[in-house]
């Protein structure tokens, strides 16, 4: 009996050790960024310490006085919000058609959209570069708004299609009997029902657009004032320290990441559902 209890205890202890190891492994780098953002540039260069010896807010001050960074924040907000709006409006139309209506060519369309979700962004980089230049928007925020649907739209369509499909058939039949048109059914009945799904996909599309780097780096090469946050952080030049403003970069990273993390943690259940809807139900 005691041996069994001991084994049970050891099992529990081992299990909790595992949990702690996993938690530390996932969270430590984040803690390190936070930690570094409170250190002075000088302390960053010294042997690492687990707590800042002289915590300072000077890096955050520097970040908020950095016009380039503030402009990048604005650019990112505009680009991401527009992209999400576009993806949701256009994507929910397509998803309704693919999820609720029967028509010839439906399967083909579904496969076409699915293949787009696997599309390597880098392969179209040079082609998109040429098109963006031909449209005369190279170097502007508009070039990003035009090109981001390549990854947000197929994904939005795919996830929303699976949500639309999950709704019971009777809803539309009832609406139809009451004399609603297809569009009325879509707008007044199905759309409110899928509001949670819209929030989820919108959030995922927002994060994807907010974090995008390749297109942003390429298309704003010639125009630093159109840079988004990831590009600004990758090419960060500091206000306080001239060379390698590491602590300032970390403060900027915190400014960008904290709101995102707050969103993710608030909506965590929805996000997990959205991420796995595309993959597990497939």
């Amino acid at each position: 009996m005691t041996a069994k209890a001991l084994r049970h205890l050891l099992g529990r202890v081992g299990f909790w050790l595992l949990v702690i190891v996993i938690a530390v492994y996932t969270l430590f780098p984040f803690y390190w960024a936070l930690n570094s953002s409170f250190k002075s540039e000088q302390e960053i260069m010294e042997p690492a310490s687990y707590l800042p010896r002289n915590p300072t807010l000077i890096n955050y001050q520097g970040v908020f006085q950095n016009d380039e960074f503030i402009r990048a924040l604005g650019n990112s907000a505009i680009v991401s919000a527009t992209t999400v709006l576009l993806a949701l409006v256009v994507g929910s139309f397509a998803a309704y058609a693919l999820g609720r209506l029967r028509f010839r060519g439906r399967t083909a369309m579904l496969y076409a959209v699915l293949s787009m979700t696997m599309f390597p962004q880098i392969s179209v980089l040079s082609g998109l570069f040429a098109i963006v230049r031909d449209l005369g928007v190279f170097g502007s925020q508009l070039s990003l708004i035009i090109s981001y649907p390549i990854f947000t739209l197929p994904f939005t369509v795919w996830v929303l299609t699976s949500f639309f499909r999950g709704l019971p058939k009777e809803i539309e039949q009832a609406a139809l009997v009451d004399g609603a048109t297809t569009f009325q059914t879509f707008r007044m009945i199905l759309l409110p029902l899928t509001a949670p799904a819209l929030v989820t996909t919108g959030l995922l599309a927002f994060i994807a657009a907010w974090n995008e780097y390749l297109f942003a780096l390429t298309f704003t090469m010639t125009n630093p004032s159109a840079r988004t946050v990831p590009v600004a952080i990758a090419l960060f030049s500091g206000r306080i320290a001239r060379e390698e403003p590491i602590a300032e970069v970390m403060a900027a990273a915190m400014v960008v990441t904290l709101p995102l993390l707050a969103l993710v943690l608030i909506f965590q259940n929805r996000i997990v559902a959205g991420l796995t809807a595309g993959a597990v139900k497939g």
Partner: protein, 535 residues
């Protein structure tokens, strides 16, 4: 049978639905003429599309130069380079459809009338978008260097033709909508209505995907066969598969090691690596450069050399990175998923924590790891490992070519294992508990249960997770670009460098196509061997 008249979505939808599909009255003469006019408009637009395509091909400067014998260039290439395939085919098909619709309108079928309404709405939207684009491009200062402000006069001038066409289209739409129950006979079937509705809803998505995916991809494929450059306006030459030949030519040679004359054994360099003899002079003269040498033992090595050594080594780096990081992520992810799947207090908190690495932008996590991986004691990884006595001295994680890739794998594993774990967790939760109970009644221990129950039932989820991660890893860009810059390339960063730094559009496109094909091959292999269900 439902017998209602379907109404167009863009009409005022709060209006009560017409109760009867029957023709309400006979059309007057004027109304009959109106419908002839609308039908004529459709045929005109269709023919106009053909004419526009023909004229723009004919007036293209490159094509003119060829037809007039002033240029030796290939006519097909010049056409593809200027127009591509997608747009001309689209114009031909849509023009044909509009003409057909115009003819059908005269036969007074209700289905044709409904489709005509839809076509008019989307034509108006299309003309509107084109008009706005013309407005923007005409008014924008040509050179951003001289800020002359927005040129309103030019902009308004550019939009006038679009505005005229738009008005004509809208008038036609108005007439058609008013007359639809007067002139047209019959009742649209439910299937026909659904089909029309579906295509109506799909048109925006299709349009966006053609502009941002189909056109660029086509452009990449076509450009990869040329020597097109990005800056300047040099004539584009068709180089066939030369770009691919240059990228993909590599050879394998067996080479002996350099002998150390004193000990009569293989010589080594300062890091202890064996030094190898060069490949044949003849090969060097042809442009082959050694990429790396694999030790075969017995003083012999297998040298891989290539014309474009950077590309072959970037392909090698990418494949190594992909295979190792995806395997590690799968194993660790499965492990984490199983831990989190068991019930314990704080499980929700744990799941939330797992979303943190995923949510941090890759660029930011790369810069963060850059700091953690610094090459002296100010880098926390070095400090930790030295404090714990695992390392005797600091390592240059990002500068030492032997461990660079492993450092990147470390970063990638940290960033994406939680994502993998979440996907697998969702799969684990679909496995019914009684299967495990049945297995344990049958005397299977935990390990046995894992291999007999968990793995087979989790296979579809694992397959999907593997597909997602592999395709992602093959096109890895952010971490390579931020952490290693040009020190070590992945295929994607090499593509980027070729395009942006060297401005070599044709060559960069060929790299893009190779990545595309590689990813395609991987996807097909996965779908075949692991049986991913797409539906």
């Amino acid at each position: 049978m439902v017998t209602r008249t379907p109404k167009h979505p863009l009409e005022d939808i709060d209006e009560p639905v017409m109760p009867s599909p029957e023709r309400m009255r006979s059309p007057t003469d004027i109304e009959a003429v109106t419908i002839e006019l609308i039908s004529g408009l459709f045929i005109l637009i269709g023919l106009g599309a053909f004419a526009l395509l023909f004229v723009s091909i004919n007036s293209d400067p490159t094509i003119q130069a060829i037809t007039q014998g002033r240029s030796e260039q290939s006519l097909i290439l010049a056409f593809l380079d200027s127009f591509g395939i997608v747009v001309p085919i689209l114009v031909l098909v849509l023009g044909g459809l509009l003409i057909w619709l115009g003819v059908r309108l005269r036969q007074r079928g209700i289905t044709a009338a409904r489709w005509a309404q839809l076509a008019l709405v989307w034509l108006s939207v299309g003309v509107g978008v084109l008009g706005l684009s013309a407005f923007y491009n005409a008014g924008r200062p040509v050179l951003a260097l001289t800020d002359t402000g927005f040129k309103w006069a030019e902009a308004v001038g550019a939009i006038i033709p679009h505005a005229v066409i738009l008005v004509v289209l809208l008038v036609a739409l108005r007439w058609l909508s008013r007359l639809i129950n007067v002139i047209f006979e019959g009742d649209e079937t439910l299937t026909a209505r659904d089909t029309r509705m579906a295509w109506n809803l799909l048109i925006p998505t299709l349009a966006v995907l053609i502009v941002v995916a189909a056109r660029p991809l086509e452009e990449t494929f076509i450009t990869s066969l040329t020597d097109k450059r990005f800056a300047g306006t040099q004539t584009v030459n068709f180089v066939g598969l030369n770009n691919y030949a240059r990228l993909l030519s590599f050879r394998l040679d067996i080479v002996p090691c350099r002998l150390n004359e004193e000990t009569n054994s293989c010589a080594t360099d300062t890091t202890g690596a064996v030094r190898w003899e060069m490949i044949d002079r003849e090969m060097l003269r042809q442009g082959f450069r050694p990429v790396s040498t694999i030790d075969l033992g017995g003083g012999r090595g297998l040298t891989i050399s290539a014309i474009d050594a950077s590309f072959i080594s970037s392909a090698g780096n990418t494949l190594f990175f992909t295979v190792v990081s995806v395997l590690l992520e799968l194993v660790l992810g499965l492990f984490v998923a199983m831990v989190v799947n068991s019930k314990f207090r704080g499980r929700g908190l744990m799941r939330a924590a797992m979303l943190v690495p995923w949510a941090i932008p890759t660029v930011i996590s790369a810069r963060l790891w850059e700091i953690m991986l610094r090459d002296n004691q100010s880098g926390i990884l070095n400090k930790m490992l030295v404090d714990l006595g695992i390392l005797s001295q600091s390592q240059a994680w990002l500068a030492n070519p032997n461990i660079q890739l492993w450092s990147l794998i470390l970063v990638d594993v940290w960033k994406t294992t939680p994502f993998m774990a979440l996907l697998l967790l969702a799969g684990l939760q679909t496995i019914p508990e009684d299967l495990y109970e049945a297995a344990s009644v049958d005397g299977a221990n935990r390990v046995r249960q894992f291999f007999a129950v968990t793995i087979p039932l989790l296979r579809p989820t694992i397959a999907v997770a593997l597909v997602f991660r592999t395709l992602d890893a093959l096109r890895v860009f952010d971490v390579f670009n931020v952490l290693l810059g040009r020190r070590k390339l992945s295929m994607a960063t090499y593509n980027f460098e070729t395009l942006v730094q060297n401005q070599d559009g044709g060559y960069a496109s060929a790299i893009g196509v190779i990545i595309f094909i590689l990813i395609f091959i991987f996807a097909v292999i996965y779908v075949r061997t692991l049986g991913v269900e797409t539906e």
